[in-house]
């Protein structure tokens, strides 16, 4: 299974540092969410406003804290707009993957039918499957846009959750209290809601931040390749792609979105590491 299973017992030192990681990741992500929700509203300039008098303004200039791009568009506004896009796509993809993965994982943990077997086979194969290649082919077929990218990323990555839920649920079904509940003829629905799902929360909440980070990278990579987001939209991948023509004259066009991607990924990883130490 994932590294969750093999964390050394928490020493006082690692407990302290785990709290620190958890808090740092949580606070950073909360700030980022606030920025994503309210950012475009409080930004001084509009993300699409073309101002040819102020092209290639370097960062830290009055009026343009992060500078402007080749069309004079404000980078602060564009970064915030891109944040909203990336965050929403990655979050929807993660939620979709976790819901499908959990449902199918629960099914695979118990079912002896052909369906259960098929799911188990699929999750086993998916471990060695180049998911990103499939995502690219699917985007080519389905077309780009928010819904397409989020659902494709969710639909191709659910085996990650399925594998974990399946292993975890199998061990839960062997516990005494679950066996006792089954003997008392507790209804299946009640059994799942009261005993199985709560037992899955810990491992799922560790996987979610890491998966979110992966989805974020995948989303920005797709739009960097020009097949995720609509062309010209203010997304980090698009900004990085456009910046390549101006690396010599205006390196901040690349550095600003790069820093944005990296800080969001690191925040999510911090939260994941903190949760892992705390819960596992």
């Amino acid at each position: 299974m994932s590294a969750i299973a093999e964390v050394s017992p928490a020493s006082p030192e690692s407990l302290r540092s785990s709290n620190w990681e958890l808090w740092a990741g949580g606070v950073l992500l909360t700030c980022i969410v606030v920025l994503a929700v309210f950012g475009p509203a409080i930004a001084v300039h509009d993300a699409r406003f073309v101002d040819l008098d102020h092209r290639f303004v370097p960062p830290f200039s009055p009026g343009f804290a992060l500078g402007t791009d080749q069309l004079g568009r404000d980078l602060v506004a564009r970064i915030l707009r891109g944040l909203r896009w990336s965050f929403a796509t990655a979050l929807c993809a993660t939620l979709l993957a976790s819901v499908i993965g959990t449902a199918l994982g629960l099914l695979a943990a118990r079912s002896r039918s052909l369906l259960g077997k098929t799911i188990r086979q699929m999750t086993a194969l998916a471990q060695s499957f180049p998911v990103f290649v499939l995502a690219i082919s699917l985007v080519a077929v389905v077309g780009n846009g928010f819904l397409a990218v989020a659902s494709i990323l969710g639909l191709v990555t659910w085996p990650v959750f399925c594998r974990i839920v399946q292993a975890e649920a199998q061990s839960l079904f062997a516990r005494e209290y679950v066996i006792a509940a089954e003997m008392l003829r507790m209804s299946a629905l009640r059994l799942y809601v009261r005993h199985i799902l709560p037992g899955l929360v810990a491992s799922l909440s560790v996987v979610v931040p890491f998966h979110f980070a992966d989805m974020l990278i995948a989303e920005s990579a797709l739009s960097f390749l020009g097949i995720g987001a609509p062309l010209g939209a203010a997304t980090w991948g698009n900004m990085l792609q456009e910046s390549r023509s101006y690396l010599l004259t205006a390196p901040w066009l690349m550095l600003v979105p790069a820093a944005a991607v990296v800080s969001l990924v690191i925040s999510a990883n911090l939260l994941g590491d903190g949760l892992r130490r705390r819960l596992a």
Binding site: S128, F129, S137, A140, M254
Partner: protein, 317 residues
């Protein structure tokens, strides 16, 4: 039937299911999401041209018939012709293959050269300032997506310092930046896994026994912990190969490296579906073959596997 033959049959069935599943999914998604004839014809095709395309590709037949004929032609390794230049799609995918293999091999090598010593050092060393700093460095590096690393490398080494070419595929000088970029995908992850393996091995009962008998720290590390921890690295390499493929797609496009990933993005943007299908199948099969080879190598190297059947040593994500 011998166990080996049975395992071989099971392996063949898995490969078959994998290929069948992938192709079926691609086929139906392509048909569900729109009329391929319209896509193939392009934006300015007339109704007559679209009809001609329908007839030529057999799109005027029923879906089940189309699917059957598609599977039959796949069985003959016929992926159709590239819509861009009319060459057979599979041949096009295979021509791009060696360049990708070179990049993947170089990147894997570079990642292992960095990750093994670093991971062993981190896993064997007790807590200290240097160790904490290196761990933080690895953690931060893990937050850098490969294409961001690539852009930063190009900015620094190709644009500011002008030491290395920014793109292309012409001799070792052009290999350095793509290799480092793909390796940066893997090295932090591998380092953390190797660290966990080594420190896990050092905590295990047999190492405690060796210590109790009187083995020195150095002996314990080199003769007892390392061989066992590094056995697990083989399975890590297998698990990471998928990430290499992902890395190839992005990094090859960024550096105009004429491999499979670059071709995939090219064909995707040109809506060249036969080539996309051929590449997807070639990649899926390659990843599957590499994983099989690694599993087999492990089976040969690790006597425990032969007795108890395959168990996942350190096969964590």
């Amino acid at each position: 039937m011998s166990r080996m033959a049975l395992a071989g049959l099971r392996w063949l069935r898995e490969l078959f299911l994998l290929i069948l599943g992938t192709t079926t999914a691609l086929f139906f998604l392509l048909r569900l999401t729109g009329d391929p004839a319209v896509v193939l014809g392009g934006a300015d095709a007339t109704e007559a041209q679209i009809q001609a395309i329908r007839a030529e590709y057999g799109l005027d037949r029923g879906l089940a018939v189309q699917y059957a004929s598609y599977i039959v032609s796949l069985a003959r390794l016929d992926f159709g012709r590239s819509l861009a230049d009319g060459t057979p799609a599979l041949a096009k995918a295979l021509t791009a293959f060696p360049a990708s293999l070179l990049l993947a091999g170089l990147a894997m090598l570079a990642a292992l050269i960095c990750a093994i010593p670093l991971g062993v050092w981190l896993g064997a060393r007790r807590a200290g300032v240097a160790r904490t700093m290196v761990r933080w460095l690895v953690f931060i590096l893990q937050g850098f997506p490969g294409f961001v690393v690539a852009l930063l490398l190009v900015q620094l080494f190709a644009i500011e310092l002008t030491w290395l070419p920014a793109l292309g595929y012409a001799g070792p000088a052009t290999w350095i930046l793509p290799t480092v970029s793909v390796a940066s995908f893997l090295a932090p992850k591998l380092t953390r896994m190797i660290e966990a393996n080594v420190s896990g091995a050092l905590d295990s009962p047999y190492v405690r026994t060796a210590r109790a008998i009187g083995a020195s720290d150095r002996e314990v590390l080199w003769h007892h912990a390392l061989p066992n921890a590094l056995l697990g690295v083989a399975s890590l390499v297998g698990a990471q190969f998928v990430f290499i493929v992902t890395g190839l797609v992005i990094i090859e496009t960024l550096f105009a490296w004429p491999g499979i990933g670059w071709l995939l993005v090219q064909s995707t943007t040109n809506l060249d579906f036969p080539v996309v299908q051929a590449i997807t199948l070639v990649t899926v099969t390659t990843v599957f073959l590499v994983n099989t080879l690694i599993e087999f190598a492990q089976y040969r190297l690790d006597p425990r596997l032969r007795r108890h059947g395959p168990v996942a040593i350190g096969s964590h994500a």
